[in-house]
């Protein structure tokens, strides 16, 4: 009975460990704080000249630059410290102008030969890096109501065209009701609408002397509206986040009606929130003529708070959705303005309407969909009541001098900030349905750095304490266990890096906890060996059966823990998911190191020799 592994087994173990070391090493190289320069415009490119411009601005501002380089994604400016990076952002953004997007970023310093085989440091979670996490709820009832609003004006037009007389149209709780005085009108309306608006289900009812036709959504059309709303909002949010200039943002659907947005490294959270949550849009209306009245006219306030009002035609010429590009600048008098280009369909519509209306006034209306949350006590329980409403205001009313085409400009905005944000929102597109924040977490950069420090310190002390204990208690075998323990941490880090898993503070806690638990397998094996030795078994036999008999126990005990970790992964969010990841990976790697790697060491040291006393 000799405890020996065949050569290939030793080589295989060495190979696995070598790969582990290679893929874990990048974690030793801390990321450089950097600025990422990119451009969304077709007319601008990032090249040496752009970098020179940025470099000059930085040296004028007395900010130290570590390195400037061109990459496939644009330009990267590396700095020595986070403070330099933060100070540099406005300087570079101002020097390069509107055509470029400047984003805060962390750039890996992994040596090239490591990067070329796909090795890189593990991603850091928001709690270690700083940044913002938002959970947004898409307001589905509002999306459905918006759809019914549009349908109601279309249905009215259809009824008018066929001279069906209706009294009123109301929308309540996702159902559109049309009131008639004559049963004949009801019947004609029903067959007409069923024919033209097939996506709704219709029902009729009578209330007193009035007849009602109710139109509601079919299950299929409700689903398709909802899925369109969330898809469209995802796209819009992605565009907006890109415009914000955030490196490695995350915009992801969660569940049926929620969207997660994570912006690492963002400092100005108020601005980020304003832009992400904005539901602003533009509408272009003609001013109503003096003889127009009734339901076709609405009276709106001017946004500048002057108390002026204007009567506008309800018909919309175009909305912000027809805008293909927008940028902000200043007019001759230094007032902020937004230059707008329309897509071809929007341009045609605009031309057609304005050609027939030269000399009349056209209003630009700014709309924001907002929601207000109030807390109402019902049955002793505090309940959230959310009410959606729209705010409309005229930003400009100007005489149409000539037929308008594809591009024009609008003025009347309060501040340069407002004009640049409006331009951004028009470029990125409007949200298909209103959204509101249901969760928000902001982690300042100082807290991130502090968390990394705390995590590192506890990991080091934890490792030291466990190793010391094992050494004192198991002596030579304690050394074997300690080597396995260190290799376990290395393999765990390597797995995290290769899988692209995110490291969070609870994740580091998971690693520290794993250290304490990973030695368990070795403790089980060693206790068995001791028991065998106490029974008088020769040392080689004791080692052999110690490993063999402990195996099923280790296996059963670890599999159940793994199952629980998987559940934790499914239930947890954000940083807790990070804990589940390190815990489950730690279980897998520790089984390999504690059983296979420890055995290899024992075999190497005791294998070739005759039975002798074991220091255990």
């Amino acid at each position: 009975m000799l405890n020996k592994y065949p050569l290939w087994k030793y080589l295989l173990i060495l190979l696995v460990l070598a790969l582990g070391v290679i893929y874990a090493v990048p974690n030793l190289y801390p990321d450089d704080p950097a600025l990422q320069i990119s451009t969304q415009k077709a007319t601008a490119v990032v090249d040496e000249r752009t970098l020179e411009k940025a470099k000059k601005a930085l040296s004028d501002a007395d900010i130290n630059l570590k390195k400037a380089e061109l990459t496939s994604a644009g330009g990267t400016l590396r700095f020595n410290s986070g403070e330099d990076q933060l100070a540099a952002k406005p300087v570079v953004a101002a020097a390069l102008g509107d055509n470029y997007v400047t984003a805060l970023n962390l750039v890996p310093t992994t040596p090239n030969w490591l990067a070329s085989i796909g090795a890189g440091p593990a991603k850091l979670g928001l709690d270690l890096r700083g940044g913002v996490h938002f959970l947004l709820q898409v307001d589905m009832p509002a999306a459905l109501k918006q759809k019914l609003d549009v349908a109601s004006s279309e249905m009215k037009a259809a009824l008018r065209k066929d001279r069906v007389r209706y009294r009123s149209v109301t929308i309540d709780n996702g159902v559109l009701s049309i009131r008639f005085l004559q049963e004949g009108d009801l019947d004609r309306a029903e067959s007409l609408l069923k024919d033209q608006f097939g996506e709704y289900v219709y029902s009729t009812r009578q209330n007193g002397s009035d007849y009602y036709l109710d139109a509601g959504f079919t299950e299929a059309s409700r689903k398709s509206i909802e899925s369109y709303a969330i898809q469209q909002n995802l796209t819009t949010l992605r565009n907006r986040v890109n415009e914000l200039g955030v490196a490695e943002p995350l915009v992801q659907r969660q569940g049926s009606d929620r969207i997660v947005v994570e912006l690492p490294g963002v400092q100005d959270t108020a601005a980020a929130k304003r832009i992400i949550g904005a539901t602003a849009n533009l509408e272009f209306h003609l001013e109503a003529g003096l003889d127009d009245q009734g339901g076709d006219v609405e009276t709106l306030n001017f946004r500048n708070g002057s108390g002026r009002t204007a009567r506008l035609d309800r018909d919309i010429i175009i909305t912000g959705d027809s805008v293909s590009d927008a940028s902000s600048s200043f007019d001759e008098n230094g007032r902020p303005q937004v230059n707008i280009s329309l897509d071809s369909k929007g341009g045609q519509k605009m031309a057609k309407v304005t050609r027939a209306a030269v000399g009349r006034n056209m209003a630009v209306v700014f709309i924001e969909h907002k929601s207000r949350t109030r807390f109402v006590k019902t049955d002793g329980k505090l309940e959230e009541v959310r009410k959606s409403y729209s705010e409309k205001g005229i930003i400009s009313l100007a005489t149409i001098q000539t037929t308008l085409g594809n591009s024009f400009r609008i003025t009347g905005l309060d501040s340069p900030r407002e004009s640049s944000e409006l331009a951004l929102l028009l470029r990125a597109g409007a949200l298909a349905a209103p959204i509101y924040f249901v969760e928000e977490r902001t982690i300042g950069p100082s807290l991130g750095a502090e968390n990394i420090h705390l995590g590192m310190v506890s990991a080091q002390i934890g490792l030291l304490v466990v190793m010391l204990f094992m050494l004192v208690y198991y002596r030579v075998f304690g050394i074997f266990a300690n080597v396995s323990l260190v290799l376990n941490v290395v393999l765990l880090l390597a797995c995290m890096s290769v899988l692209g898993a995110t490291l969070t503070l609870p994740g580091i806690a998971g690693i520290v906890l794993t250290m304490g638990m990973a030695v368990d397998a070795n403790v089980l094996i060693f206790s068995r060996i001791k028991e065998e030795l106490a029974n008088g078994t020769p040392s080689h036999q004791a080692i052999h059966s110690g490993f063999n008999r402990a195996f099923t126990t280790i296996f059963d005990a670890n599999i159940t823990t793994l199952l629980v970790a998987v559940i934790l992964f499914a239930v947890g969010t954000g940083s807790v998911k990070g804990f589940a990841v390190t815990l489950s990976l730690g279980i897998l790697t520790s089984m390999f190191t504690a059983i296979v790697v420890t055995r290899a060491q024992v075999n190497l040291v005791y294998g070739g020799r005759p039975n002798k006393k074991l220091y255990i």
Binding site: I443, Y473, A509, V523, E531, T561
Partner: protein, 304 residues
């Protein structure tokens, strides 16, 4: 190391009494005091700021009161210079920066925002539901796995031991009013995994001894098995407790309660894997035949 000969099962009645008392206290506390759920589960707003110099909390409260924020809880967080401001469900997107501005107002105080968190009431409620479901699911899966790998009596014994550990740890949090946030939920689930690990090691030894030892009463066999695994149980618990102490003292305020839950839970878990599961097996009259199908000859012997 010699195998100890502690008559654990002789203490089973006393131990059962202790366990039942602890569980009753826990349930009573959970029923009357409830659990102090953290922001993750209740919803609300939290803002953590860092002062250059330690402020007087009363001054901070006064300042916030003047700023029009009612129903505010102000506490130190980890160090005297760090302050946490908690508010019930009153949220506007700019709240974080507004509160910061209010705090800076008091003359020349330099305050920096460390983090701000807002969780909607709806999200919190869902998370609470999800967390409870997760715990139940974990117990269910464990029960199935143990029933398949071992035997039904073992599965009942280990799940009861787990419920014992979880209930008492929850009771501990309820009784002393420690805050229960998402990291504590993670700790409880990790505890289920850990405590089960311990119980399985003992059960595994009991199963093995049933196979190799004949002519020994279940009572003595269980005693022997516990004594044989005692060394391992204590050493593993010790190394785990060491690392948890490190996390408790050096890991920072945000995982303080996580470490606390696991520290307490592992003490209870170690106790339960020695006493509770084995005790239950004995109560359910576990026999060799539960694990090994009766050999054929025996059946034939019984035939007339």
């Amino acid at each position: 190391m010699k195998v100890t000969k502690i008559p654990f099962m002789a203490m089973r009645k006393v131990v059962a009494l202790i366990s039942i008392t602890l569980i009753l206290i826990s349930i009573a506390s959970l029923a009357t005091k409830g659990i102090k759920f953290g922001l993750d589960f209740t919803g609300g707003t939290l803002i953590e700021v860092s002062y250059q110099q330690a402020p007087q909390l009363d001054d901070v409260r006064g300042l916030l009161d003047k700023g029009g924020y009612s129903d505010v809880v102000v506490q130190n967080f980890g160090s005297p210079t760090d302050v946490v401001v908690r508010m019930a469900n009153a949220y506007t997107p700019e709240l974080g920066s507004q509160v910061l501005a209010t705090l800076e107002d008091s003359g020349n105080v330099s305050v920096s925002l460390k983090r701000s968190e807002f969780v909607g009431a709806q999200v919190g409620e869902e998370l609470r539901e999800q967390g409870g479901l997760g715990m139940l699911l974990a117990l269910l899966i464990v029960m199935i796995y143990v029933a398949v790998r071992f035997q039904f009596k073992f599965s009942v014994a280990s799940v009861v031991a787990l419920i014992h550990d979880v209930t008492i740890t929850l009771g501990f949090f309820s009784l002393f009013g420690y805050e229960f946030d998402l990291t504590v939920l993670a700790a409880i689930l990790a505890l289920i995994g850990y405590s089960l690990n311990d119980t399985i090691v003992v059960c595994d030894r009991i199963r093995e001894n049933f196979r190799i030892l004949r002519d020994i009463k279940p009572y003595d066999l269980i005693n022997l098995s516990i004594n044989q695994t005692l060394g391992r149980t204590i050493i593993t618990s010790l190394t785990t407790l060491f690392t948890l102490f490190v996390l408790f003292f050096y890991g920072g305020e945000s995982i303080h309660n996580f470490a606390l839950a696991l520290l307490f839970g592992i003490l209870i878990g170690t106790y339960s894997s020695i006493f509770v599961a084995a005790n239950l097996l004995l109560t359910m009259k576990v026999t060799r035949e539960d694990l090994i199908p009766a050999p054929k000859e025996q059946l034939e012997d019984e035939l007339p």
